[in-house]
């Protein structure tokens, strides 16, 4: 019997609320020798972890439910919240089953957290995962392939086995399938946003942070079928793109509030890792070279990446507005998020030049007040409807 939307979303919600990561713990305990490797935003090649028979586990902070006591002792008040709640998760042993942690190149805070992890949890394999900001195959590409090789070797140590090219090729194929489904869900929402509310899509993608990839792919298939079958009324909402939430996550209430205020979110930058590589990564040939090439030439744009061509700065956002038939952009960035907040004025300029309306506000993963956000989003929606 096929599952209903409610059943699927309830399961995702339970996974989302479980700060002890029970499902990942159970996965690890199911067979002796299984290993779990955590990763933070914005992108790591999960294929290589998967190729080692390990579970990639997305760690996105503690959310609004976690009371941070010890984590605050490591950070000044002017630093965002995700590192402190992540440390709280570790100190309170909620992620004590994680065998490795990857810290992507996204900002100085997450970068330094990699070193803190080495000092605080010396038994855990902790790696800062650097990516090139030079997009030439023979420069940035060569560097990146070597970085991937070093990562692979480190992960082999964690896994206690070698990871062959064939293993990686198989995993690339599995993730290609997953990325296709992610894209389908996003496209489905673009076409019929009333049938796929953003908070549901959000929870569905969050489930992909903790579930084995194969299970997540199946879950998305189930959701698409169930959501298509469900009869939901279309509202007179405007269509917006949410931008700036690629690292520290907003409270779920914020996602809901924006939609309640009259805005369909037709695109976002939550959990970019699920769709970082655009389109299928080739399966034949040198898998690391393929991952590198895909990264250099066909991957998402975000603030953590350098845009070599000044005239194209922010163009991807303007393009997304067109492709998703959006009517405006809401910049929602975490407080003290350097990449998002430094990028915002340039993106905003690009939008203004293209006559695309935009507003902005900040949040923290534990923001309590939604009233101001509802008001701003509501006013924005009214303005768009008035002028369109």
């Amino acid at each position: 019997m096929s599952k209903t939307v409610t059943e699927i979303v309830d399961r995702c919600q339970a996974l989302f609320e479980d700060l002890n990561f029970t499902s990942a713990r159970e996965w690890k305990a199911a067979e002796p020798g299984r290993k779990v490797v955590g990763y933070m935003p914005v992108y790591v090649p999960r294929e290589i972890i998967h190729a080692g028979g390990m579970l990639p586990l997305g760690i996105l902070g503690g959310g609004e439910a976690l009371e941070v006591i010890h984590g605050d002792a490591y950070y000044q008040s002017y630093i965002c919240r995700i590192p402190r709640s992540t440390i709280e998760l570790a100190i309170t042993k909620r992620i004590d089953f994680v065998d490795g942690m990857l810290f992507p190149s996204i900002c100085d805070v997450i970068r330094n957290l990699s070193g803190m992890w080495k000092l605080m949890f010396p038994k855990v394999y902790a790696r800062y995962f650097d990516v090139p900001q030079n997009y030439r195959d023979d420069i940035g590409g060569n560097y990146y392939v070597e970085e991937l090789r070093e990562l692979k070797e480190g992960l082999e140590e964690v896994a206690g086995r070698t990871i062959t090219d064939e293993d990686i090729r198989r995993s690339i194929a599995v993730y290609n399938e997953n990325r296709r489904l992610v894209q389908e869900v996003y496209d489905f929402r673009t076409k019929q946003p009333w049938k796929a509310p953003s908070w549901e899509v959000y929870l569905l993608m969050r489930a992909g942070m903790v579930l084995p990839v194969e299970e997540h792919t199946q879950l998305m298939q189930d959701y698409l079928a169930a959501a298509e079958a469900e009869d939901r009324p279309m509202k007179d909402n405007c269509r917006i793109i949410l931008q700036g939430s690629f690292c520290e996550q907003p409270p779920l209430n914020l996602v809901k509030s924006i939609e309640l205020a009259g805005c369909y979110i037709v695109d976002d930058d939550y959990m970019l890792v699920t769709r970082w590589l655009l389109g299928d990564c080739p399966v034949d040939g040198d898998p690391l070279r393929n991952l590198a090439s895909k990264f250099l030439h066909e991957s998402m744009e975000t603030a953590a990446k350098y845009e070599p061509d000044g005239t194209r700065k922010g163009q991807y956002l303007v393009d997304a507005v067109r492709d998703r038939a959006a009517e405006g952009v809401i910049f929602a960035a975490p407080s003290f998020c350097d990449p998002a907040l430094l990028d915002r004025p340039m993106l905003a300029n690009a939008l203004s030049r293209a006559d695309i309306p935009h507003i902005s506000f900040k949040y923290a993963e534990n923001s309590g007040q939604m009233q101001p956000i509802r008001e701003q989003a509501g006013t924005f929606a009214d303005t768009i409807k008035l002028w369109s």
């Binding site: 002792a73 490591y74 950070y75 000044q76 002017y78 630093i79 590192p83 190149s105 996204i106 900002c107 100085d108 805070v109 970068r111 330094n112 957290l113 990699s114 070193g115 803190m116 080495k118 000092l119 605080m120 790696r127 800062y128 995962f129 650097d130 090139p132 900001q133 030079n134 030439r136 023979d138 420069i139 940035g140 060569n142 560097y143 070597e146 970085e147 070093e150 603030a303 953590a304 350098y306 845009e307 070599p308 000044g310 700065k313 960035a333 407080s335 003290f336 998020c337 350097d338 990449p339 907040l341 430094l342 990028d343 915002r344 004025p345 340039m346 905003a348 300029n349 900040k362």
Partner: protein
Amino acid sequence: MNAQAASQDVIKEPSMLKQKAMIAANFDKLTSANETGQKIAATYVPGNLNELIMCFDMGNNLPEINAINNGMRKKSGAMITEAEKQGHSEDVCTYVKADIGNMSRGAIAPNGKPMPVPDLLLLSYTGCFTFMKWFELLRDQYGCETTMLHVPYEGDGKITQNMRDYVVKQLKEDVIPALEKVSGVKFDIDRLREYLRKSAAAEDNLVWVLESAKNKPSPIDAYFGGVYYIGPIFTAFRGTDDAVEYYKLLRTEIEARLAAGKGPITPEGELTEEKYRLVVEGPPNWTSFRDFWKMFYDEGAVVVASTYTKVGGVYDQGFRHDPDHPLESLADYCLGCYTNRNLPGRVDLIEKYMKEYQADGFLVNSIKSCNSFSAGQLLIMREIETRTGKPAAFIETDLVDPRYFSAANVKNRLESYFQMIDQKRKGGGSAAAA
């Protein structure tokens, strides 16, 4: 009061006058570029490629230095407000906002003349994520030729061959061609070697000066005084005869102080009694630099080693620019800057300083603007306390945002801290403050 009376004439050593003249001449060179046809590159302090830029007869304009200048002249506050009005968040780096605000106001240099639009933006993306965004913002404003040098981070605390190759290759295939194109000058590696030889000579003397603080009493303050000592080597003078001469002069002066058993020079004269020897982590505050310094010398506190004086190169741990391996040594220079080192490496270095410089305590000046430095400093502090058993303290200020310097707050903590060191030393007896 430890320092001699303020009424006394402020001491100006020949090295100070020399540096002042060098800086003034450089500002004149930069601001007259439109008349002289001098080509200008804009680049950042950490990982700056001054010798390479000189190979193309180009001038070097450093936005952080402009922000510091405006901070010390109490002009940065209004510039930051200006940038925030333009849509820049109050949460982000104030060097960036002071720079952007400054541009909106005509980019006036300290000599009163406007800075030219650079001919090339040369982004050395070293040890600070914000540099990358700052650079994109500058490019947005200037619309000039740009090139980027991505310096990978020492995540595992070491420079790998892969990192070195990556940087060298970018230098060869991106940076040098861009410099050639903008300047019209052909790259000559022997010219680079010659500059690097001069850099190394200056670096030797700089290291001698910094290490003179191992003596008791220390003849220098390695933080407040230190920021002046690193001036030439961190900026547009590395590889020049001027820098070689400056550091020779400086070394001679410090040698004389050392021989005479003298303490550091402060803005109010000589420090006569060294009561506390500190290692300091983090950049200073610039808007209240003098007031901040005074809180130390009034109490007889001398900074004997600091990490900020290593942001533009960690020379005291053995690195020198090497004429025999020119591009490789430029790569190693960039890769080895302090904020490009991982956190465990920073802790190790500070621990070493604490011991080698016989420090009484460790102080963190945590800067709101600078997450590269600040994120993790509370853990650094804990580690140093545990490893050395010496008391540590934590204060919070900002680089150039006057709104983030609370004098009463900082003074309160510093005084408590000095008295705590004192009390611990005396084992519970009455800790007199003076």
